[in-house]
């Protein structure tokens, strides 16, 4: 009996060591649109002929010592939690050097260039898992000052809010730096606990992503095409649905849209770990998650060509009938 326990424990330990570790989420702090607008750190941005104002992060970082200070306060305590914050400044530099590559991201479907807003651009280059959107305002109240703040952490994959922290600080005659630091200290533990809950949920239920499947106009296949499955004729959509129920964590996902042209899987919980091509356990992302599905569709008996587009971090598009 005792031996059995020891073996069991040893197995657990070995398993634990083998299973490796999930990719540590990267976090980035970004000043909110509202803040940028209020402080005139905006630039014109043309998208499909429409001109809108979008944040000019570079200018904001260069001019506002307050936002730099806030980011460094946040970076400080996150570093203590062993989550180094991605430097927005260096990401912006990377974007500049990569500017010419943007053209390469084109849709082979339409041939049109994908126009990215600065935040999309940031996400694509920096690939943060979590974005901290920070907004604050220093209100003058006679001789006193008061900081109101709003720190929203959201999952870059799903844009779902992980932790919202809104509040005001002391109304006193003190330097703004002190008031900003007070604000950070005020929400720090509440924020960390929101993050912890998010991670706990992730470990338990997997990461949440969206998988959209579409049919290329000229494709030979539709999602209601029937195939033989263990002697029965089953629609392709049902077969794909079956794959999701088998491969998601605890079978959690929802098929929200189902037509012969489109299948939209939302709230898809993908495991943090999967097997790479070599068959070893590794942390996987959305693209890694759908790889077996793509392989299944391309193989016998379907022979359906599939193209995978990664859209942001938390969404992939699988276009069938085009390769």
């Amino acid at each position: 009996m005792k031996r059995a326990v020891i073996i069991f424990l040893a197995l657990i330990v070995t398993f634990g060591a083998l299973s490796g570790q999930a990719k540590r989420p990267t976090i980035m702090v970004v000043p909110s649109d509202a803040w940028c607008e209020r402080n005139h750190y905006v630039q014109e941005f043309e998208s499909y002929g429409e001109v809108t104002m979008v944040p000019d992060y570079e200018k904001a970082l260069r001019r506002s010592s307050e936002i730099r200070l806030l980011i460094s306060y946040l970076a400080d305590f996150m570093a203590k939690e062993e989550f180094p914050i991605q430097s927005l400044e260096s990401v912006l530099k990377n974007i500049k050097s990569e500017e010419s590559d943007v053209v390469s991201i084109t849709s082979s479907e339409s041939g049109a260039m994908i126009i990215e807003s600065p935040i999309d651009e940031l996400r694509r280059v920096a690939k943060p898992d979590i974005i901290l959107d920070i907004d604050y305002q220093v209100k003058r109240k006679g001789p006193r000052k008061q900081v109101s703040f709003n720190l929203t952490a959201y999952d870059a994959y799903t844009s779902k809010i992980i932790s919202g922290n809104t509040g005001v600080g002391s109304s006193v005659n003190a330097p703004v730096e002190t008031l900003l630091e007070e604000a950070v200290l005020s929400f720090k533990d509440n924020f960390l606990s929101g993050l912890q809950n998010h991670f706990d949920d992730m470990f338990e239920n997997g990461r949440e992503v969206v998988v959209t499947m579409r049919r290329f106009d000229m494709a030979d296949h539709t999602f209601d095409e029937e195939f033989d499955y263990q002697g029965d004729a089953v629609e392709l959509a049902d077969l794909i649905d079956l794959w999701f129920s088998e491969n998601t964590v605890n079978g959690r996902y929802s098929l929200n849209e189902r037509t012969q042209d489109v299948l939209k899987f939302e709230q898809v919980r993908i495991p943090l770990y999967g097997k790479n091509i070599a068959g070893r356990d590794v942390a996987i992302d959305t693209r890694g998650f759908v790889r077996p599905l793509v392989k299944m569709l391309k193989d016998e008996p379907y022979y359906i060509p599939v193209t995978v587009y990664q859209k942001g971090l938390g969404e992939v598009w699988l276009i069938i009938g085009e390769e």
């Binding site: 540590r24 630091e181 533990d189 991670f199 706990d200």
Partner: protein, 174 residues
Amino acid sequence: MDMGRKILLVVVAIMVVLPHLSEAQSKREIKALMESFNNYEVTTERVAVDGTKFVKVWGYGKKVDAAIVQAKKNAVHACLFRGLPGMETAMPTPAIFKSESSFDEHKDYFIKFFTTGGDYIKYINVTTDGVPSGQDRRQVRGGYKVALYVQVMYDNLKDRMEEDGLVRKLSTGF
């Protein structure tokens, strides 16, 4: 029966009974400790310096000194299991443990931790000037209820719980 044997008998009897007596005593103490953790008030006073929480916490005791000791324990208990309520200019602080039942899961650990003068004392700094006074020192039925101003070393306390393997670090699993 000669004298020597009588003495021996008495000594043996004492040796047998004594440990039980002290055990009974400590059982009562534990019960009292658990009861006082069930019912206390704590409020956030203001945002404290980095890594700490500044609270006003109440304690009950038969004597003022006992009430003060209990208030100190309550301050640490609140950070561990209850969380601290927010106020107008300070956000709430979540408890280090997700649920109060964690106390029972690690009961031996915490009974020892919260022994008077135990490890909990390392995580507090009382800022009350002298003794609780005025309306912070209330005579109630059977004893006193006092309020203390306490700075809790929240981050250190959390680190300790992480080191002792009672809570997961944020980075655990990655």
